[in-house]
Symmetry: C2
Subunit: 233 residues, 2 copies
DNA sequence: CGATTATTGTCGCATTATGAGACATTAAAG
DNA sequence: CTTTAATGTCTCATAATGCGACAATAATCG
């Protein structure tokens, strides 16, 4: 077993989370940067000995972003034998003066369960943990180099997001409570990475019967004002 | 770490596989029954310390069915804290005179990665392992009670199968090299659990351009003989 | 104050996909 | 030769989708 600050964790098992947000017409994810290193990683963590796996992920997400009751979806478990943090983590531990033997277990091989979450960009209060000094949003199309196989994890998360977009993913988490049709279309376009026909998109969305129309929004532009919509609960 | 016959395994980590076959117009899965118990379980196993997770599953499947190069898809990782085999496994170990302490680790909490496979019913040579005396096909709609949460795992496998049927799953593994349109339709109907319109199904399949038409099959029936088809490679 | 501009809501049309029934074909049995 | 049952294909109605067009409208500009 591994111990971290007096808590016992399952050895060889971790989770990583790909946390999506939407801002400035682009899809973002949360990344951590470790103190005094140029190493970026997905926010992840370990599973306590008597803790549900899903609970562990919720807990970690709450600790890092301050938000709770998030839509979390498990999408793949990465289990290659050579998945370990030797090298990178040595650098991190040294930079943080944590080089004692009690943390050696962190250098073991880890099987990692990957989750994705869709959250509202504005609701987040990214908080660094003890060994990372920033937890910041990055444009998903312009990520820094990530440690280990974290780039692969992000890729797989994106593919999952795309394939499940029409089925069950609660896209509304990404937007404000109320939004325009153009904003909603932009979310779809960014996730699918393709442009959609405006008329068809609007017709399709309205035909689904999942949107409620509200007051028009006078946005100050020299044009017709759009309606605001929200998702029916 | 856990030891089994001199090999070292990752503790707290297991896999379970839902192996689908098709025979007699029905979808089947492989189940193991333990010696001298009435306990049925999905074929599963453990991951060696220096072994890729995917490798472990392939290895286990080859050991139990004799077939290799199977399409294996990971679909979920079950990680509830109370997932353990206390009770059931005690019964199994006692029935097999394996009640010594060296196997105590098997009673721990296990996080299990679940895989599904589609294989050709006829190619399989189910082989029991040391502690299970049968590894047999069961109709998926008529399963015996399964240990632990294995029924839940089967359910989730079925849902995954259904949702991915049109996208990427290599259904052809379930059939012979050549097959009739009626047989193919039956596979779809069994997986989707609904009947399909014959004309529409045939039109759809032919329009996909993934089938090659062969000689007619004179099946001895008092009716027009169907063509045989195979999937284009 | 009227013309202009950019964006929006909606419609029409062509094309494609889908559901359902119908009809001729055909291999074997009587 | 007739009958039977399954098959290949067709037609029609309906639904879904891609794409362009048009009127409406809020702000700006002359």
């Amino acid at each position: 077993m591994g111990f971290l600050k007096g808590v016992e964790y399952l050895d060889h098992l971790a989770y990583d989370s790909v946390i999506f947000g939407f801002a400035g017409d682009n899809l973002k994810i949360l990344l951590m940067e470790y103190h005094d290193t140029a190493l970026f990683a997905l926010p992840g963590g370990f599973v306590q000995v008597d803790e549900d796996l899903n609970e562990a992920v919720s807990r970690g997400l709450a600790e890092r972003t301050g938000i709770q009751n998030v839509y979390l979806e498990q999408f793949y478990t990465f289990g290659d034998a050579k998945r370990n943090l030797t090298g990178e983590m040595n650098k991190i531990l040294n930079a943080n003066n944590l080089g004692d033997d009690s943390l050696k277990w962190i250098l073991n091989r880890f099987v990692s369960v990957a989750y994705l979450a869709l959250i509202n960009y504005k609701n987040v209060n990214p908080r660094p943990d003890e060994i990372s000094d920033s937890c910041t949003w990055y444009d998903v199309n312009n990520l820094p180099p990530l440690i280990q196989d974290h780039s692969t994890i992000v890729e797989k998360a994106l593919i999952t997001l795309q394939s499940q977009l029409d089925h069950k993913l609660p896209i509304y988490e990404l937007l404000e409570e109320q939004f325009t049709m153009a904003e909603l279309q932009r979310v779809y376009e960014v996730i699918l990475n393709e442009s959609l026909h405006r008329g068809s998109f609007q017709r399709k969305m309205l035909s689904l019967g999942i949107l409620k129309r509200h007051e028009k929004q006078f946005n100050g532009g020299a044009n017709k004002a759009p309606y605001l919509y929200s998702f029916l609960k």
